[in-house]
Amino acid sequence: MEPLIRLADAALGYGKVRVLDGVTLEVYAGDYLGIVGPNGSGKTTLLKAILGLIRPLAGSVQIPSSEHIIGYIPQRDTLDTIFPLTVLDIVLMGLFDTLSPIGRPARRHIARAEQALEAAGIADLRDRHFGSLSGGQKQRTIIARALVADPKVLLLDEPTNGMDLPGETGILSLIRSLHDERNLTVLLVSHLLNTVINHARRIAFVANGRVETLDRSEVIASSKLSDIYGMDVEVTRHDHRYLVLPAANEGGQPA
């Protein structure tokens, strides 16, 4: 099977500055890939390369030729709530590039936007002002904006950052169901391994200028995590879910 996205020995960065080097990564249809790393590790650089916003400094990055295949879901905090836009206005933006340069959304586009709102579970918020929504509702709005273009891949940048537990659970469940029911390929960027370990099949660790991809079973079983984080780390299982914690000493304090 041909990968949807392929990075081969790619060096990624800006100008002459290499942020990531030797990146080799393949993403296949139906994958659920977590991209995890500390703040400033280069996750956003990798994301920009996958979106085609930056070109590799060396090596190659092959991304789907059609712009509509990847549905990008940026961090919700980057969107300015001062704009007087409703949820529907924002979802319709996902169709702007399918209209002629001077075209306006028609009734059929609004119908598609309403379907996307339904899929994101916020059909009742259609006419609400974006700035009046909770964090979870805002995240669902920009997920709906990505869904309206009928993408094959969802690329989410820190979708649960700063959310409370119900909000985070709701968003991760939504992504999971979109992945399962629509066979959408998911690339989920997060700085928290616990956010993705119970959902992603594979995890790409971004740290120290490198990207290392492991299957979830490898992450859970191996001592690789301790190497990646530079500290003793253990993975515990509770109620069929995994939890990554710093290894504890005999007194129960982090070692």
Binding site: G15, L51, P74, I82, P84, D89, P101, R145
Partner: protein, 297 residues
């Protein structure tokens, strides 16, 4: 002033009133983006730089005219230079446009690889333009008269040709924004997502700032620095306070600007004042009204 005198004044200044209204409406429309994009300081700086261009034109105007007078009847190519200088000497807006577009090119550069943050470049542009405006005006032939014209404009003296020129520039700006509304909105609201969908964000940003620069440069000579900046800020703020949809914000912003310009002009005639202060005062009252409407919801 009797009512008859006042009505006569309105009739005599009909072109000026129309010009004020056109300037106010166009500035208010673009001002909505200026406020939403949080680039109010860019607007201030461009207005000041545009004023410096006008002040430079005031300074060099007599020299251009004198060179033109000496060369226009000479042999080519001196006669061509003379014609060109004679044309430039009475059109400060051309100098202003050149200077303003230069600033637009600098301000609209993408942020990567800059040694300074964009705000610092904008601030430096503002300070330099203010200092140069002062210097040019002090050294210009008319001095204080130019200061007043720079701040308050010369909309009272607007002729039919000036009005057509204003109208043509503003119609072009309105056409660009009317046709490409969704591109300007998308790029302003979420540049990263727009880029991921194939939009050339830097080019759309440049086009926005070119329309802003052209509007400011053309408007400032006629309406003055104070009115232009006020009309970019106050009506947009009124629209954003009063309305919750983009269309409503644009409509209220433009409508409040039109009312402010017309009422301001009438009050200036009535009380024999410069046009800017009553225009700005009316706009501020409308903004206060918008806050009351919002509080009453």
């Amino acid at each position: 002033m009797t009512a008859e005198d006042f009505l006569m004044g309105l009739r005599l200044n009909a072109l000026g009133i129309i010009g004020s209204v056109l300037v106010a409406a166009t500035c208010a429309f673009l001002g909505v983006y200026v406020v939403l994009k949080r680039v109010v300081f860019v607007g201030v700086s461009l207005a000041q730089i545009s004023s410096a261009g006008i002040a430079l034109a005031f300074l060099v105007g007599p020299w251009l005219a004198s060179v033109a007078h000496r060369t226009i009847h000479g042999a080519p190519p001196f006669s061509a230079i003379g014609i060109c200088f004679e044309w430039l000497a009475v059109r400060p807006v051309v100098v202003s446009l050149v200077v303003t577009f230069g600033a637009v090119l600098l301000f609209a550069r993408p942020p990567t690889g800059r040694a300074l943050p964009r705000e610092a470049s904008i601030g430096i542009g503002y300070v330099l333009a203010s200092a140069l405006s002062l210097l040019f005006i002090l050294k210009s032939a008319k001095g204080m008269e130019d200061v007043r014209e720079l701040l308050d404009g010369s909309v009272v003296a607007l002729g039919a040709a000036d009005l057509w020129a204003l109208g043509a520039v503003f119609a072009a700006v309105a056409a660009v924004h009317g046709l490409f509304y969704k591109q300007f909105l998308f790029v302003s609201f979420d540049a990263e997502m727009a880029a991921s969908r194939g939009y050339a964000v830097a080019r759309w940003e440049m086009l926005f700032f070119v329309t802003l620069g052209a509007t400011i440069a053309v408007a400032i000579q006629k309406a003055g620095l104070l009115s232009v900046f006020a009309m970019m800020l106050l009506p947009a703020a009124t629209g954003l306070v009063a309305c919750r949809r983009m269309a409503g914000v644009f409509i209220v912003a433009v409508a409040s600007a039109v009312v402010s310009a017309a009422v301001g002009f009438a009050l200036a005639l009535l009380w024999d004042l410069p046009v800017s202060p009553p225009t700005i005062g009316t706009s501020a009252v409308l903004l206060a009204g918008a806050y009351l409407v919002r509080a009453g919801r």
